[in-house]
């Protein structure tokens, strides 16, 4: 359904844009209908940039992104609007997605004026109420309220409800639960899994391996803009082949074993990926069916 074909994204930085930073380097993957793919990486790995390129919030420098075989970058105004009927994004901070001056349900009204100007008022209200119920909210409690009167979890669900009002087929969920509390995050996570069961594809962008393992079918591990490992989620987590994946898994705090019993090698840089040189040039090699690992 979605094809990401050798996509590269470069940013020009510095005075007069003299320096280029390669945020995403020759990345290719596909998302099939009804599949949750998690894109896991640390800060600066390019995971959010990939999401933004799919949503056409920023253009790709090289390569093509195709949705149903059509190059997304060629879409004109009208086709783009049609594209957004099927592809939507939800982001990390629900409070910054809402305008605090207006009531939170204004996002539904804006959606209507943009996509469904011919719907009658009462018909639309019923659809909104149904979408709000679908994401596990009580319409009486959340409609007609200001953003500050709702919790982060409620606002995040409102944004999901908004996306569901369209004929949504692919959802780009960028760190949607990082800001939520332990007791509410599972609810939103389960909701995403239920939406998948109804045929929705989700690109689940996160830095939290446990969340990715919990809901995704396939996992892509990203480092400094390149894919280091990709495959069936269970295989990648249970049999990680790339040293970086292994380091990440060794660093996740778990409650089954203690860090002190499994020391990590001193060779591991303690400063993540923000600093240092670019990843050496690698190619992906298929180590078992559907399980790809970067080798140099």
């Amino acid at each position: 359904m979605l094809e990401f074909d050798s996509v590269t994204k470069e940013f020009r930085v510095g005075a007069f844009g003299r320096l280029t930073i390669t945020a995403v380097d020759d990345v290719s993957f596909r998302i099939a209908p009804g599949e949750i793919v998690s894109l896991i990486g640390e800060s600066g790995s390019g995971k959010s940039t990939i999401g933004r390129m799919i949503l056409r919030l920023t253009p790709a420098t090289k390569g093509t992104i195709r949705f149903d075989g059509v190059d997304v970058s060629t879409l004109g105004r009208k086709e783009l609007k049609e594209y957004y009927r099927h592809v939507q994004g939800v982001f990390q901070d629900p409070f910054s997605s809402f305008n605090p001056v207006f009531k939170a349900d204004r996002v539904f009204e804006m959606l209507r004026s943009q996509f469904y100007p011919d719907r009658s008022g009462s018909e639309w209200e019923d659809r909104v109420a149904k979408a709000v119920e679908d994401v596990g909210l009580n319409p009486v409690q959340v409609l007609n309220r200001y953003p500050h009167q709702l919790s982060g979890g409620q606002l995040q669900r409102m944004l999901l409800a908004r996306a569901l009002l369209l004929d949504l087929r692919l959802l780009v969920a960028d760190e949607v639960i990082s800001m939520l509390d332990a007791s509410t995050r599972v609810g939103v996570l389960n909701l995403l899994a239920e939406l998948r069961e109804r045929g929705l594809s989700i690109l689940f962008i996160t830095h939290d391996l446990a969340l990715g393992y919990y809901i995704s079918d396939r996992t892509i591990i990203l480092r400094r803009g390149s894919i280091v490992e990709m495959g069936d989620t269970r295989r990648v987590f249970q049999d990680p082949r790339h040293p970086y994946t292994q380091t990440l898994l060794a660093s996740v705090p778990q409650m089954e074993w203690r860090w002190r019993d499994r020391p990590v090698s001193a060779a591991v840089p303690v400063d993540g990926d923000g600093t240092g040189d670019a990843e050496p040039v690698t190619v992906l090699e298929e180590v078992e069916p559907g399980h790809w690992v970067a080798v140099s």
């Binding site: 007791s183 899994a193 919990y214 705090p253 778990q254 860090w259 002190r260 993540g272």
Partner: protein
């Protein structure tokens, strides 16, 4: 006993009324102990961390005693606390980026800090370099501006500064939350290292992430709506909790190895109560699946096992039935 907190009450003064952020909190941290403090946002964990070091308006001390190494801390007297900060008790704040003055090089910043206490920078320099090496930072960071450091480096610089005068108690407030996975482990293990080297005597680690506490803490205190609900050894709290809230909180934690299609987790229904007018009795009562009439009065924190205390009527009854 390093730290003893007795019936601490700290309220926030707001236009709508007093927010009872800490409402009767008692606990103790032994010498050499790392105590973890966990709970959802709004449970008062950060207020607790802040109030021991820097209690400023709109925070207001309403009652209670904080004792450090047998001496009462004047926590509501900002000036008098100066004598204890850095030496007695020190805090590593959540956002290291905003803790460092961006216009000063790290070395100059430390020099000024020490100067304010009448301590010679030059005399402390060898020890400072020693400490930087301990956390894996080059000596050169002293000649750098904060903006030149990455998030993990800044966090470690702040850790070194906070502990430079060997405080008895170090409070770490969500210091790993903003870090990447691999950096998170490194910084968390440094905390343990600081304790093992007796640079600090004891530690209070505040976080929302119970699994980090399982990794580094000796004991864990779980707070809910401004009150402690359960405390005990880290192993017990994470693997055999008794309070319904702790059980639900630990059970709602996604772990590597748990999948939706194999073992779906469930969250905790409802939201934490507002603290201007919190529910009477047990504050978890409105969300608790086991709530009954007796929960209308506040359950005391009762020790039911070796260092394991729970504030829940149901657990107390079960314990009574067992004896």
């Amino acid at each position: 006993m390093s730290l003893r907190v007795e019936d601490l009450r700290v309220y926030y003064q707001t236009l709508e009324g007093e927010v009872k952020a800490l409402d009767g909190v008692s606990f103790a941290i032994a010498d050499g102990e790392i105590m973890g403090l966990a709970g959802e946002s709004g449970c008062g964990k950060s207020t607790l961390a802040q109030s021991i070091v820097r209690l400023v308006p709109p925070m207001k001390l309403v009652g209670g005693v904080v004792e450090l190494d047998g001496e009462k801390l004047p926590i509501d007297d900002f000036e008098a606390m100066n004598r204890h900060r850095m030496v007695g008790v020190s805090i590593v704040p959540q956002y290291a980026m905003s803790a460092l003055n961006p216009t000063r090089k790290i070395g100059k910043l430390i020099k000024e800090l020490l100067g304010a206490r009448g301590i010679s920078y030059r005399a402390k320099l060898p020890e400072l370099e020693n400490r930087l090496q301990l956390v894996g930072l080059p000596r050169e960071v002293l000649d750098m501006y904060p903006i030149e450091l990455s998030g993990g480096m800044k966090q470690r610089v702040v850790m070194v500064i906070s502990t430079l005068l060997d405080p008895s108690l170090l409070i770490a407030d969500e210091i790993t939350s903003a870090l990447d996975v691999s950096t998170q482990r490194a910084v968390a293990e440094m905390l343990v290292d600081f304790r093992d080297r007796e640079i600090v005597k004891s530690m209070m680690v505040v976080t929302h992430d119970v699994s980090i506490l399982y990794q580094i803490a000796d004991s864990i205190l779980i707070m809910y709506a401004g009150q402690p609900v359960e405390s005990g050894p880290a192993e017990v709290i994470t693997h055999a909790p008794r309070h319904p809230y702790t059980q639900l909180l630990v059970g709602s934690l996604p772990q590597v190895g748990v999948r939706y299609d194999e073992q779906p987790l469930s969250g905790i229904a409802g939201n934490p109560p507002g603290l201007i007018d919190p529910p009477s009795g047990c504050r978890f009562r409105p969300r608790c699946p086991f709530a009954s009439e007796r929960c209308e009065s506040r359950p005391p924190l009762v020790e039911i096992g070796d260092g394991h205390s729970v504030a829940c009527w149901k657990v107390m009854e079960e314990e009574d039935a067992r004896v």
